[in-house]
Amino acid sequence: MKDNRHNLYERLKNRGLTPEQEDVILAELHDDGDHGIPYTEDGDPAAEPNTGKPIYAFADLPFLQRMPPPRGSYTTALRSLDELLERDKLREKDGFPRKIRVGRLIKPGKGGKDKVVVVPSTVEEKFIHDAVKPPDEDGDAGGSGEGEEGEVIGEQPVREEGDSGAGPGQGEGGPHEMESNAYDLGKILTEKFELPNLQDKGKKRSLTRYTYDMTDRHRGFGQLLDKKATLKKILETNIALGRGPGFEAPETIDPSDFIISPRDKIYRILSREKDYESQAMVFFLRDYSGSMWGKPTELVVGQHVLIYSWLLYQYEKQVETRFILHDTEAREVPDFYTYYNSKVAGGTQVASAYRLVNEIIQEESLYQDYNIYIFHGTDGDDWDTDGRQALPELERMLAVANRVGVSIVEHGRGGAEVARYIKNSGLLKKYAALLRLDVMGQDADESRLIEGIKRLISTEKVAAA
């Protein structure tokens, strides 16, 4: 794999690269990370390294008595998400900004298939001092022991910081996290955050599922008398018998004269109906190259959880998902957990992921039965700088997809190729109804994420910014 990357780099170099592009590529090239799922463990609080921990982080219960910090079970969560959001809605009515954030710390649970852990969170704002620090240096800490001034006494890999790809895996969650059904979250998103409802849900597909309804009619006996149909039948019978002398003058009809045959009574009876529903296939594509370290990954994955939840609600759970991770090569992973937690490393080739999506769609003829949604999250950096390979693949995807949404988190470490070549390609205009692009900064918060989702999924034909 390493060799592949080098070969690719050589080829790209021969084609010519700007110095910045080369920097970005080299940084990823010399990166020795792997894509494993970070190992998390409930540590002994006292055993944690306390570098840079402020003195106020120490307290007697965890430190002296070694008592683990409390961890809430789902039943002890005092208020439900719904209640909190209801309160939040009232705030808006009273003219104050909302305070509850959901989804910021969302991650899929290990267990159930469509469970996500929702941590409603908030912050109490006050006037407090901010730090002014040069970006590359961190605050000083205390230390003790041997060593000359200036001597380096230890190193810590940069990646460890946010547990790399587990930027999303923010530790093991706080005391008040709630496990919520992704479906419920989708409902909340739709209702409370006014994400649009899909008007036309596209192709419908028959399912091997039946509903029972009082749709069939039956003469003579049954569960429910269909009065209108019965009356019609009675009229028919009486006309056929010539018992309608007054039909030329309707006001003379006397219904009490009608003869009613038992077989004229029409009933409705239960019957088995085949059910047709539209359903969706969602591809989530995530760039897990080295440059995605930290915030960008967190945002992309957070947004994908929300989109997933929303679609799940929109399609009444008739959603199937495929997860694809890519660096220079793409691979499909079996579940959201792996998708969510895989660490970042390696280079970037957006085209690889698009190609894999197209292959899957072709091989499995998915376009016949499904409404296909493709969401791709990246930091916008691509070794394939002008999209020479990515753009044709993208166009192929657009031919079969209901929507392709690309979210780009800019981190200012170079690389905005994806945004640039998509914009320049004219595809946004050509497939205005199908392709959406959303570019956000890496300081985006949850409301920005939801804003982004609206942009990605809205049905209005606007050229995305």
Partner: protein, 555 residues
């Protein structure tokens, strides 16, 4: 929550006896509870005060990425809470010997709470009981006013770090001044010097005249003196009276100012809000000293749990287990700060120094390092102890660190300031020994101490129903994201436009970084350290009016 069993309680009582014999002083009654994980879940958002008022934010995970300790200064996992009687919390399955150690630690804290002057405003207060009364008040209001109570709590809490804690403290122990004494002080200190600007010779003559008049007339000497003064300066009396009026105005903190001067809060239908604000303010004041004495408090408690445990005859045979736990708590980390270890070492150090008589003028005069080292004028056994008892009574973290962390202490404990920098080439954070100077070490600790911003009310600029707040610039800006909502709350409580003058970064000069040459397989040149990072500041004015925030640049 359950009380500890009788057996464990008897251990506690034994600890109390021994602690008292060693000189600690604390109230007789204490309550010890066993807490489960579930209890903690409810207690920790309420700062371990079981009776604290209910507030919905307590039920929600609070984001703590930024400024955690500035926003929520009270530690949610403390073992002892400062109330009468003192309450402490324990794990269910602690072995007896461990309980002995923890009890001594707890008693150290209780002694500290009840003797350190920074806590003096809490000394005659049963806070748990007070909090219960407040909780009921808020519950009652909530049943009448609904969610508006929560808004008022929210807005009051958003300024609860601006309480005038030090003003409140300084009022506690002020010596009584007589009116006569005030007049005399005013005459000599202000009137003659600032108003009349008399020459030194005349000033001395005036003092002489006063002394003579006291000698001559005894008890009424001062009156006689002033009768002459009023003949000479007929305007004196009125100027003095005027100065008294000015003085009598108390310095108000922001919550107090709103309580007294907000038209909105003083409307009949809004008066209930004032009691809510008072509850929040009072609660905040109770927690203020704790965070300002963290190093001392933990150091003091650690000093005593170690000292008393080792002398305790009841724990024979558990020394090794104790040593393991104790070293985990009180070891100095290679990198990082541990308030337990730092405070404890400083107390030991001070005791030793005082034992040798090193806190004396004679010692300070010594310049010879050799002689300083050998200096020992001690001998009386309890001198060092007395000294540290005095310190636990009178200092806070800032004065403790600022006064006593000197080069001797830093050298003896091999302390240093550890820097952290990014090595771009290796993609690692490097920790390095940045400085072993006492002043740097001191500064590093002081920089990390809790320090809420100073926000003053500018009466002169508060016109037309505006409230003008002035953030006194101390080298740090305010967290920008928090300004809008905080000001929104103040505007609500004030009932009119609110202005905030503060400083922001206008431009930061980035040093020019030489382009990075990356040659595969070759090491890079080391990056220069970023010493030349400079910040330019500007004063800005935020205005919150009708829930809309605007900003103008002042300079």
């Amino acid at each position: 929550m359950e009380l500890i069993d009788q057996h464990t309680k008897s251990i506690m009582e034994g600890c109390k006896e021994r602690a008292r014999d060693a000189g600690l002083r604390f109230g007789d009654e204490t309550l010890e509870y066993i807490v489960t994980n579930r209890d903690l879940l409810e207690l920790s958002p309420k700062m371990m005060i079981p009776t604290l008022y209910d507030y919905w934010v307590h039920d929600v995970e609070v984001l703590k990425e930024r400024g955690k300790y500035e926003l929520y200064p009270s530690n949610p996992y403390e073992t002892v809470i400062n109330t009468r009687p003192a309450i402490s919390f324990y794990n269910d399955n602690n072995p007896d010997w461990l309980n002995v150690m923890i009890f001594y630690h707890v008693l150290g804290h209780i002694d500290f709470f009840q003797n350190n002057v920074y806590f003096s405003h809490t000394w005659d207060m049963d806070f748990a009981g007070q909090a219960l009364a407040d909780k009921r008040l808020i519950a009652r209001l909530r049943s009448e006013k609904g969610r508006w109570v929560d808004y008022v709590i929210e807005f009051a809490r958003s300024i609860d770090n601006l309480v005038g804690y030090h003003t409140e403290l300084s009022r506690m122990d002020r010596p009584q001044t007589t009116r006569a004494g005030k007049r005399l002080d005013f005459y000599f200190d202000v009137f003659l010097q600032s108003e009349k600007k008399v020459r030194i010779g005349d000033y001395i003559k005036e003092i002489e005249r006063y002394n003579e008049s006291v000698r001559e007339f005894g008890g009424v000497g001062e009156e006689a003196f002033f009768s002459e003064v009023t003949q000479k300066h007929p305007e004196f009396e009125s100027i003095f009276q005027k100065s008294l009026e000015g003085k009598s105005k108390r310095k108000l903190d922001l919550p107090q100012f709103l309580l007294e001067h907000s038209d909105f809060l003083n409307k009949e239908e809004n008066k209930w809000m004032k009691s809510v604000i008072q509850v929040v303010r009072k609660t905040s004041l109770v927690f203020q000293p704790q965070i300002r004495t963290k190093i001392m408090n933990e150091g003091w408690a650690s000093y005593w749990h170690e000292t008393l445990f080792l002398d305790d005859d009841r724990i024979d045979g558990h020394e090794v287990a104790f040593a393991r736990v104790n070293s985990g708590v009180t070891a100095m980390p290679r990198v990082g700060l541990n308030p337990y270890a730092l405070g404890m070492r400083l107390f030991y150090f001070l005791e030793e120094m005082a034992d040798k008589g090193k806190y004396s003028f004679a010692f300070r005069k010594l310049l010879d390092a050799n002689e300083r080292e050998k200096y020992d004028k001690g001998g009386q056994e309890w001198r060092g102890r007395d000294f540290i008892f005095k310190i636990r009574e009178t200092l806070s973290d800032f004065s403790f660190i600022n006064t006593f962390v000197d080069q001797d202490f830093v050298n003896e404990n091999k302390l240093f300031v550890a820097g952290r920098r990014l090595n771009r080439q290796k993609q690692v954070w490097e920790y390095f020994v940045k400085s072993r100077k006492a002043e740097d070490y001191r500064q590093m600790i002081i920089d990390g101490l809790y320090h809420p911003p100073a926000i003053r009310i500018d009466a002169e600029k508060s016109t037309d129903g505006d409230l003008y707040l002035n953030h006194v610039f101390e080298g740090y800006p305010l967290v920008k994201d928090f300004i809008p909502n905080t000001m929104l709350g103040i505007e609500f409580l004030w009932g009119g436009p609110v202005k905030l003058e503060t400083s922001e970064v206008a431009a930061a000069t980035e040093p020019v970084r030489p382009p990075v040459m990356m040659i595969p397989g070759m090491p890079l040149q080391p990056q220069p350290e970023r010493e030349d990072y400079e910040v330019k500041w500007q004063r800005v004015l935020y205005t919150m009016e009708d829930r809309n925030l605007s900003k103008t640049i002042l300079t």
